[in-house]
């Protein structure tokens, strides 16, 4: 499908497909270019602005899928109609600029477009569709009402209006705060986008790389390349049971005696452990980081060490035990990633939400109305920043920056 957006959409559609069809109705047309002749038979749709996806006039040409056909139509649009290919993220960007979506929706859409697993898509769809934004807007209204109640007490108390009973506002704030806590407790969309980090750790020759490859064989590979794989830490994005993971193999952990290069690798490995969501520990039982899953590898070898209760015994060669380990990882992943229906926002958005939450907490517990009023104002400011109402260079750079590198 080819989508055209902008003031010349009507002209372009008319040139290739004849008179404009009824808005928002598919109609079958012959696609022909005055200079190049007949190109294809296709369904075309016409969407007059501003109530369109981008806020501009839009046209869609649902043509046959062959590359040559698509290229011919594109060429006709470029040469004959003076259009150009959209830049990365440009439709979203225009939708934002034309007020068709707010920052929260635009970010979620950006993430959703790059979703590779069903879980990613399902979670982000509700944010992109505006569910998160409308909830946020409701909270903002409530906070605004609380602000108004505080201001009434501050600015009119000595006036006649002052003998109006003060409106109850603290209770409403506590309720909003509790709802915000739920959002905050949900893992951020960044984890969803990048996958949960599973780090394989243990001394050299513990079987990490074999297990790494064995899990990779079981996984649906995620194609998008991640920058920086040419390190001694190897990362592979994978999907297990529809859950996105980032599988990380580290250099072996060893104490003294390692040479300088190895030492560097070990330091990186230790850094990886700090960022890990799940650690598979292949070393001697009990010597790995706390919370690591104990894995005994090479379980097919007669001399292999046995680990105690709760450990996974896996053979990378015979694949014994691998299915159990993977099933456990999927379970953990489902627990630790946002679920469909939950609202997942980016880490940056979460930071702002945490600011708003903290301000609301302060306001609800503050006896000095003046300070409470200020805390509420700051809460609104943080929420406005989430929706993009507070436009700053930072916000725009962050927003448009991501589309340039993303889809």
């Amino acid at each position: 499908m080819i989508r055209v957006s902008g003031p010349r959409a009507a002209e372009a559609l008319t040139r290739l497909a004849g008179p404009l069809p009824t808005p928002r109705r598919a109609s079958l047309r012959q696609i022909a270019d005055p200079d190049r002749g007949w190109l294809d038979e296709a369904l075309v749709l016409w969407f007059p602005g501003p109530n369109t996806a981008t806020g501009e006039d839009c046209a869609e040409i649902h043509c046959h899928g062959g590359r040559a056909v698509i290229r011919a139509i594109e060429t006709a649009l470029e040469r004959g109609c003076g259009l150009r290919r959209a830049e990365a993220g440009e439709f979203t960007r225009r939708a934002f600029l034309n007020g068709r979506m707010d920052l929260l929706e635009a970010e979620a859409l950006g993430d959703m477009l790059s979703a590779e697993t069903e879980l990613q898509r399902a979670v982000l769809a509700s944010s992109a569709g505006g569910a998160a934004s409308s909830r946020l807007a409701e909270w903002r209204e409530e906070v605004l009402a609380a602000s108004a109640a505080v201001e009434q007490e501050l600015d009119f108390s000595d006036d006649d209006q002052g003998d109006l009973p003060p409106a109850p506002w603290r209770g409403a704030l506590e309720e909003i705060g509790a709802q915000m806590d739920q959002w905050l407790a949900t893992p951020s969309a960044d984890r969803l986008r990048d996958g949960l980090r599973i780090v394989l750790a243990g001394p050299p020759n513990a079987g990490k790389s074999s297990l790494f490859n064995a899990i990779l064989d079981e996984a649906a590979a995620i194609v998008s390349p991640i920058a920086g794989t040419t390190r001694d830490v190897i990362e592979r994005p994978i999907a297990l049971g529809g859950v996105p993971f980032l599988l990380v193999d580290t250099a072996g952990l060893r104490g003294e005696g390692a040479d300088e290069i190895e030492q560097l690798g070990i330091m990186r490995a230790e850094g990886e452990l700090g960022r890990a969501d799940i650690i598979l520990w292949l070393g001697p039982e009990g010597e790995g980081p706390a919370e690591a899953l104990e894995v005994a590898s090479m379980s097919d070898l007669p001399g292999a060490a046995r680990k105690g209760q709760g450990a996974f015994h896996v053979s990378s060669t015979t694949r014994d035990g691998l299915a159990d380990l993977i099933a456990h990882l999927v379970t953990l992943g489902r627990e630790r990633l946002p679920k469909p229906g939950q609202v997942a926002v980016s880490r940056r958005q979460k930071e702002r939400l945490a600011d708003a939450r903290e301000s609301i907490r302060r306001a609800a517990g503050e006896d000095d109305l003046l300070i409470a009023g200020e805390a509420l104002r700051q809460a609104r400011h943080a929420m406005d920043a989430m929706l993009g109402t507070v436009a700053t260079e930072d916000m725009l750079d962050a927003l448009f920056g991501r589309f340039c590198i993303g889809k």
Binding site: P50, D158, D160, L370, V390, T392
Partner: protein, 619 residues
């Protein structure tokens, strides 16, 4: 032909401040007024200050303005409103004796050597080459000028309403500047109408004070201006009474005779200061509304009943008043009335209140759709400061929303326009924790000194105070350990560690006056200054949280939108946004963000386009 660099038209509170600030800066100013003896008259409530308004008085005073000191000279009752709340929303308010206040204003006007009062009616503006070049009086005299400041209050096209009667005029007994209004209308200035009202004036000798609650003047000897001292006059008390069901019944039965309800007045009045008719109609479930009975002066029996402005017919006013406790025998000296008047849409003004379409012409005060002496005075100050700065080829002081209520008001007016008479409220100032009434001098007097608009007395006072402040600040910066603090009699445990004195004030029982008593802060420090520094310390953590926001604001202020910025050319701006922005004419991205209804998307579009536009122009 006579010539003044600046001519101010109108001798109300805006006109007086505009004329006097010009004169303080050494510019020759002509103040044209219909009646020189009415300069500084208080046409409504004889009170100065209040919530939000008190901040404006102190700010005007910080520029060495007239209002604060005149209020102190005339004051017969001081009250700090909102004292139970945080100090940033305290509202200093005085009631002033009309005669004493007016005389004090006129004395300050007379003392300005470069200020001439010109008695006469400004009938028309003289325009040359698209600029203001002079003013023509009703008797045909022409006076040349470089800048004219219109401070005509409600006198432009004013109509008074009382019951079924209407009169033409700005205030009872005075004419309306109808010809000037007609000329402004012809000049295609965007004009609209608003209304305001005033209550009846009562004869205090016919009020039974004995059955009413008294409200005495504050015991604390604070003043409106730090240059005033103590109490100039004996202080009187006010009293409080309430409307009641019987009074409401009388009003309700006669609503149809009020011009507000008969349809005679179409203009919007202030929501926050409704007429008693409005209160009864809109808050019908309330069983009573407070009335503050405020004496108008020391040698007059007149009493101003605050809270019951009305335009009901005279007989109805008398009837409902006499239904109220303490007013059973009351005599109405001057019935209340409503005024409908023209105002200029302030969105046609720049941020110094100069008309964009007519350089050299400024509008200040009620003509811009505001209400209140304080709002008027602050605008007069702004217009006068700028007009004189232009004459002297100096930069006017940098006022913004983070340093003054004055700038908050001008920004609100010129960006949003008005839909009801604009009154200052502390809620309008988003950075109000730093904008306290009691730190106005600290915030603004340095700017005033730089602008050259303060007399020697203020400068000398400020320098002494700044030195005292610096002494306290350096005392607070010194480090003390727990043992030292204990030796001075303060409770301190060793885990507190060694820290600057300012941080010790966070501990219970350690405040500035205790430190002063212990001799750690200079003993001679003035208590008002110490209180101000104490509040700075108290609010510091909250103010620090605003820093990121202020950096953002200032960054967006750096993104300038030129006067001819082509909003219509910005891709992605809807027609509605283009219209709003074209009318408000924001001069920076920060201002654009404050225009009502401007979406984040519109801001983004503006920012992207402004970058390109100014880069291409710079190239």
């Amino acid at each position: 032909m006579q010539h003044y660099p600046i001519i101010v038209i109108g001798g109300g509170h805006a006109g007086v401040e505009a004329a006097c600030v010009g004169a303080r800066m050494g510019v020759r100013v002509g103040l044209v007024t219909m009646n020189a003896s009415k300069i500084g008259a208080m046409s409504c409530n004889p009170a100065i200050g209040g919530l939000g308004k008190g901040h404006l008085v102190r700010e005007v005073d910080a520029f060495d303005g007239v209002l604060g000191r005149a209020a102190d000279v005339g004051a017969i009752h001081y009250r700090m409103l909102n004292r139970s709340k945080g100090s940033a929303v305290w509202g200093p308010r005085v009631q002033a004796d009309r005669k004493l206040f007016g005389a004090a204003v006129r004395a300050q006007v007379a003392a300005e050597e470069t200020l001439d009062v010109i008695a006469g009616e400004a009938a028309a503006l003289v325009l040359e080459g698209g600029r203001v070049a002079g003013v023509e009086l009703a008797d045909g005299t022409r006076i040349g000028c470089e800048a004219a400041i219109l401070c005509t209050g409600t006198f432009l096209g004013g109509i008074l309403f009382r019951g079924e009667e209407t009169f033409v005029g700005g205030r009872v007994g005075e004419g309306s500047a109808a010809r000037l209004a007609a000329q402004l209308r012809e000049a295609a200035l965007p004009m609209a109408r608003l209304k305001t009202g005033t209550p009846p004036r009562l004869d205090g000798r016919t009020i039974d004070w004995s059955q009413l609650d008294e409200q005495p003047s504050d015991d604390e000897l604070w003043t409106m201006s730090p240059l005033s001292h103590g109490r100039a006059n004996p202080q009187i008390f006010c009293a409080i009474t309430r409307t009641n069901a019987r009074a409401h019944e009388i009003i309700r039965a006669n609503l149809s005779r009020s011009p507000l309800y008969s349809g005679a007045i179409g203009a919007q009045g202030p929501r926050y200061c409704p007429s008693i008719e409005d209160k009864i109609d809109r808050f019908g479930d309330r069983d009573g509304h407070q009335i503050f009975l405020e004496p108008e002066g020391l040698d007059t029996p007149l009493v101003y009943p605050n809270g019951i402005s009305t335009s009901l017919p005279t007989d109805v006013q008398e009837d409902f008043l006499r239904a109220i406790d303490g007013l059973e025998q009351v005599r109405v000296v001057e019935p209340g009335y409503a005024v409908e008047y023209d105002h200029v849409d302030p969105r046609s003004l720049d941020r110094w209140l100069q008309l964009r379409s007519l350089p050299g012409l400024y509008c200040a005060g009620q003509i811009n759709g505001t209400t209140g002496y304080e709002e008027a005075a602050a605008q007069g100050l702004v217009a006068g400061l700028h007009a004189a700065s232009v004459v002297l080829e100096r930069n006017p002081p940098a006022l913004d929303r983070a340093n003054s209520y004055i700038a908050v008001m001008v920004d609100d007016l010129t960006l949003h326009g008005v839909t009801e008479p604009y009154r200052m409220l502390t809620a309008r100032a988003e950075y109000r924790l730093r904008l306290r009434a009691n730190n106005a001098s600290t915030r603004l007097t340095p700017l005033a000194i730089e602008a050259g608009c303060v007399h020697e007395e203020r400068r000398a006072w400020f320098e002494v105070r700044a030195a005292a402040r610096a002494d306290v600040e350096s005392a607070l910066a010194a480090d003390y350990g727990p043992a030292e603090m204990r030796a001075l009699g303060f409770g301190a445990t060793d885990d507190a560690g060694r820290q600057p004195l300012r941080d010790w004030t966070r501990f219970p029982g350690i405040d500035l006056s205790a430190l002063q008593y212990a001799g750690l802060v200079p003993r001679e420090t003035d208590s008002a200054l110490l209180e101000e520094i104490g509040e700075d310390l108290h609010y510091a953590p909250y103010i620090a949280r605003q820093d990121a926001e202020l950096r953002e604001l200032r960054a967006n202020e750096q993104v300038a939108l030129a006067p001819d910025f082509p909003f219509t050319e910005v891709p992605g701006l809807s027609n509605e946004m283009v219209e709003r922005l074209s009318r408000a004419r924001p001069d920076s991205l920060a201002q654009a963000g404050r225009v009502a209804g401007i979406t984040p998307a519109a801001m983004a579009a503006l920012l992207v386009y402004a970058r390109k536009y100014h880069e291409s122009r710079a190239a």
